[in-house]
Amino acid sequence: MGEFGNFLIQNLGDFWTYTGIYNATWQHFAMIAIGIFFIYLAVAKEFEPMLLIPIGFGMLIGNIPFNMDAGLQVGLYEQGSVLNIFYQGVQQGWYPPLIFLGIGAMTDFSALISNPKLMLIGAAAQFGIFGAYMIALALGFDPMQAGAIGIIGGADGPTAIFLSSKLAPNLMGAIAVSAYSYMALVPVIQPPIMRLLTTSKERVIRMKPPRAVSHTEKVIFPIVGLLLTCFLVPSGLPLLGMLFFGNLLKESGVTRRLAETARGPLIDVITILLGVTVGASTQASEFLTLDSILIFGLGALSFIIATTSGVLFVKFFNLFLSKENKINPLIGNSGVSAVPDSARISQHVGLEYDPTNYLLMHAMGPNVAGVIGSAVAAGVLLGFLL
């Protein structure tokens, strides 16, 4: 009985070393707290719930402590574990293009086609990427890491994941969480900058209503868009190719079922897998580092620079436009490609100063141009650095 008792005690002792309680560190609890905070933001404040709930819950999954030496094959970073298999889509970079397929199938580029000059605002807002790149270099990151960090300023989660998986895989978790967090915080970050940089007269500029766009133009757009951008930046092909392909499915009018699948079930499935695995990739041992804190700081800066450059570019552009063609600088922020949040911000801030001036349709132009612009910028960074 005594021997059997010892066996039982030893067995329970072994089991105890396998429990989360035994293996927990303060870092695990810190990450779990951040995960719960994300879920709180999503549920109570409705900040990007589709992203923050999967990411927040993923953080909980990824930060359950366990005995890493036991070879249980449960962790995200353990080769062959279920989570690791899900994570391959992030690591190998095939989730982001599928997300772009869905985005293409749900995006109406009419606002952009009807007023193509708004594309330049989408380009101007990409200064955020390169501003953050320069600051990251100054902080001691190497060019590849700085490029991956800078892309947070593109305000495009899939693009950030795609690029960081190629340029700085070890920073991908921090970059992805930072990008999605700031996308959710666009309503907090952008309005003060927009108010600061515009005059009361500029905020009430009324823009000409967009013209009707023909079906032919809508079909031509993804084809010409793909050819032009990818001939210029072939390294952006996975993202741009899928974006424009999705848009052609939508606009061709003859592939309704495919378009509905791309913008519905497919993007939902990939969003779930992407969100959960990105969240789970923030395993405390890999994530809680000084670099992650710096990346969060740089992410905020990149959003501020992107918004600033978008608004200032519109003001500069207006110098060359006739009175009736002037652009309301409040849509400059929407060059930051957090679709459609930054366009919504333009609308809300615009309505504060003129309740009859609806800027949403105009803001959608630079907003979707920002998506193209950030994918092109990612391609340029890949081409230059890889």
Binding site: L112, I113, S114, P116, K117, M119, L120, G122, A123, A124, Q126, F127, I129, F130, G131, Y133, M134, L137, A138, D142, P143, M144, A146, G147, K208, P209, P210, R211, A212, V213, S214, T216, E217, I220, F221, V224, G225, L228, T229, F231, L232, V233, A369, I372, G373, V376, A377, V380, L381, F384, L385, L386
Partner: protein
């Protein structure tokens, strides 16, 4: 219309410029073959050993592509004299014939094919000009190399300076040019691009300027092209509409210069009409009664969904 013509002309010009700027064919450039002969060593005394511990001559193949390449069913051919060619058929069924992306494999020219897949049935003679070629299963020449007579000393190889590229050189002569069996001829021991940026663009301004120039160029091109397409499209739509109404060219021009009515006007008219049409009845008092409906039959409790059919004999 002049603007439209200008738009079309600028697009045509862009197409011409694009074609003119296409990469010209370089003389002597390799064909599109994915598999290349990459290095040959003809007299092996102290160099790489095979699985039998023997020092034999070898031919290195390189998979230039970024996908796997299987050399099974291919032919390695060798000749010292025109019209006298030895052929070695690379057997099927050996998993090792699958060469991973950008990787190499060695064939031993020891004249003893019975020793395995990678031992060919010919020997190399450095005193004569030697031609080696690799053919696919359909006997199509994929790649070839001719090694002049007497240029290779003992343990020297004839190799591409950089894997997959055209320039050949003799290796094993000095300390800088190593013989590199089954590995890269040119070792990438640093990220050249990144080092260039670190040295010449430490603060990132160069990257910011060049990358933003590319981003702006891309979107500027889209702006120019869709500006032109939009003008053509608007003109075409108005023209078609005018023709449908039976207007003459003059009247069409006039209708085009009148300008378009703002969308808000149409929206306001439509909303007013909608309200008018919806407001045909007076508001009446209504009583909503909900009664429970008792239904004895439902497809959910049907026996045909709960019983299995009897098997047919």
């Amino acid at each position: 219309m002049n603007k439209n013509k200008f738009g079309i002309l600028s697009m045509l010009l862009a197409v011409v410029v694009a074609f003119a700027s296409c990469k010209p064919a370089v003389e002597g450039e390799e064909t599109g073959s994915k598999i290349l002969i990459n290095e040959v060593l003809m007299v092996n005394e102290t160099n790489y050993q095979d699985d039998y511990g023997m020092h034999s001559a070898w031919v290195e193949l390189f998979n230039k592509s970024y996908g796997n390449y299987n050399v099974a069913s291919h032919m390695l051919k060798f000749s010292n004299t025109p019209g006298d060619t030895a052929s070695y058929f690379i057997p099927k069924g050996d998993v090792l014939t699958l060469i991973p992306p950008r990787q190499h494999t060695l064939f031993w020219a020891d004249g003893q094919p019975e020793r395995g897949t990678f031992h060919v049935n010919f020997l190399l003679d450095p005193t004569q000009e030697t031609w080696i070629g690799i053919y696919d299963g359909g006997n199509k020449l994929l790649n070839e190399v001719t090694i002049p007579a007497n240029i290779l000393a003992v343990d020297q190889s004839y190799a591409r300076a950089i894997d997959g590229e055209n320039k050949w050189e003799i290796r094993g002569e000095g300390t800088s040019k190593y013989v590199t069996p089954s590995t890269n001829n040119f070792t990438l021991d640093k990220n050249v691009k990144m080092e260039k940026f670190q040295v010449q663009d430490a603060n990132g301004i160069g990257m910011a300027i060049s990358a933003m120039a590319v981003v702006f160029s891309g979107l500027l091109l889209l702006f120019i092209i869709f500006g032109s397409i939009g003008k053509v499209s608007t003109w075409w739509a108005l023209r078609t509409a005018a023709k449908a109404k039976g207007l003459s060219d003059e009247e069409t021009k006039e209708s085009m210069t009148k300008g378009s009515t703002p969308g808000e006007v149409f929206a306001a008219i439509a909303m007013a009409m909608h309200e008018l049409q919806e407001d045909v009845h007076d508001h009446e008092d209504t009583v909503l009664t909900i009664e429970k409906v008792e239904r004895r039959y439902s497809p959910w409790n049907s026996k045909i969904y709960s019983l299995r059919e009897l098997p047919r004999k």
